[in-house]
Symmetry: C2
């Protein structure tokens, strides 16, 4: 497996692969790879003939006071995991290679960027949308793999691809979880042992909301939110940010739950801000 | 020459051309082609093996109360001119083909978009940057041709290409003028005969500013602005918007003129809002 640090080199390698008729796949990451990322790479390697994993801690998507400086960085470990999962190339640019001059250009997806995570992390999705557009431009026509764990990010990326007619097929991959239900995240390593023990509460809260819809027949979002909050509220280490019911297409708030919805949750455990989400479908509405 | 209406068809044709080793060129226009556009197409046809001219009146770059509805549309005439100038393809999408759903995504270039034309036309350059990014994504790797007449637009496009690492080479082409100095513009057809007779005043004002710098040795921007305004002020039909001295790279205002600057002017003549610009270089500073 090759490691490239310059955008021009990555573009040339992928252009070359495509000119040989190989299908190209991109897995954008912030590094600190774990089994969730590996599942994306494996899926990309199953679909494509040439897979590039980008490893770049993008400053544009971190707010002031967030963990840009302390975000875990381990390129050697990342390369080993990417290779083991089937990647052909790791693209690990420096800050200077990505932003040789301070960028003035921002890609923004209205509405999807200002709710939920966007309300708690102003500017976050602008930073994501901007760097993803740039990574797509460097990679060229490809399939790109994103985890459902970052569900709102997935919708933002899908939407910018549609709106800007980018030659990219966005592929969503299921969230990978620890045996106790905790969604894998690079930020889990911030958790102290007691926080780690408490962290699955986010998933249990989501499952309580899912049960309210799928088994108890709840159609009032307030009732589902209450079910999630009741579970979250029993964990004193968790500072809940939100537990919401949203449309799976545009994250709008349904007045009544009459079709599939997405349940999304976010909260802080010590210095780790964690998010998670699941789908829920009312009885008798499966397609 | 072919005419295509669907983005997917244009992408396929250009991908095909590139796969045959042909260099591809793009000339983005709002239609209503004139000799200025033809000069862009001729330059593209001299540089490239396959030239596409896009003709699309982009609603995103028109403000409320601007001339989106009345902007001249003449696809048949545009195709004839594009073909005569050497184009191989005209891309004339409908609004529905470009925006099948109302777009939520905006590309914005800070600073360059908020001064001069951006102050008079809020949101204009966001609309330009967004549609140009989309046209570039549809066209794929290419050279793209823009007129210096829209100097600020040229800088906005150059900057988004750099910031987003788009696989596009931006080529600037000189302004084409009528014999009396009026810069060619599709909006010139809005001018009544007396307004048309008065319209070259914009260029004469720019030339007065240029003379002040190049022949009279003026180094104070205020003196240059005064020279431009004095000429513009003698034309009662002209409602001057601005006459400014700016850095040719980032449009910032120099405190003193010690190197090449760009002189930019805008004003209204009847219902036509016209813009123009020239370069000016202080004596003894040529590279």
């Amino acid at each position: 497996m090759k490691v490239a640090h310059e955008p021009a080199e990555v573009r040339a390698l992928l252009d070359q692969a495509r000119s040989e008729g190989r299908r190209t796949g991109l897995v954008p990451t912030l590094g600190a790879l774990h089994a969730g990322h590996r599942s994306l790479v494996r899926r990309a390697a199953a679909d494509c003939d040439f897979v590039v994993v980008s490893v770049f801690v993008n400053p544009l998507q971190f707010g002031p006071g967030e963990d840009f400086g302390s975000y875990p960085r381990d390129l050697e470990g990342d390369c080993a995991q990417a290779e083991e999962a089937g990647a052909h190339l790791v693209f690990a640019p420096s800050q200077e290679a990505m932003y040789p001059v301070p960028p003035l250009t921002t890609v923004r997806v209205e509405r999807l960027s200002s709710v939920l995570e966007g309300r708690s992390r102003p500017g976050h999705f602008d930073g994501v949308a901007t760097v993803v557009t740039k990574l797509f431009a460097i990679a060229g026509p490809c399939a790109a793999y994103f985890g459902e764990k970052d569900y709102q990010q997935l919708l933002v990326v899908r939407r910018l691809v549609t709106d800007l007619s980018l030659p990219v097929v966005v592929v969503a991959c299921p969230t990978v979880r620890e045996p106790d239900g905790l969604a894998l995240s690079s930020r889990n390593r911030y958790l102290s042992p007691p926080e780690r023990a408490a962290a699955p509460v986010l998933y249990w809260a989501l499952l309580a909301g899912k049960r309210a819809i799928e088994e108890e027949g709840a159609t009032d979002p307030a009732q589902v939110r209450a079910a999630m909050r009741a579970v979250a509220g029993r964990e004193p280490l968790l500072a809940l940010d939100y537990a919401e019911v949203a449309s799976p297409e545009d994250l709008s708030s349904p007045a009544t739950i009459t079709a599939e919805v997405r349940l999304l949750i976010a909260g802080r455990l010590g210095r780790a801000r964690l998010i998670d989400n699941v789908s829920a479908t009312p009885p008798g509405t499966e397609a």
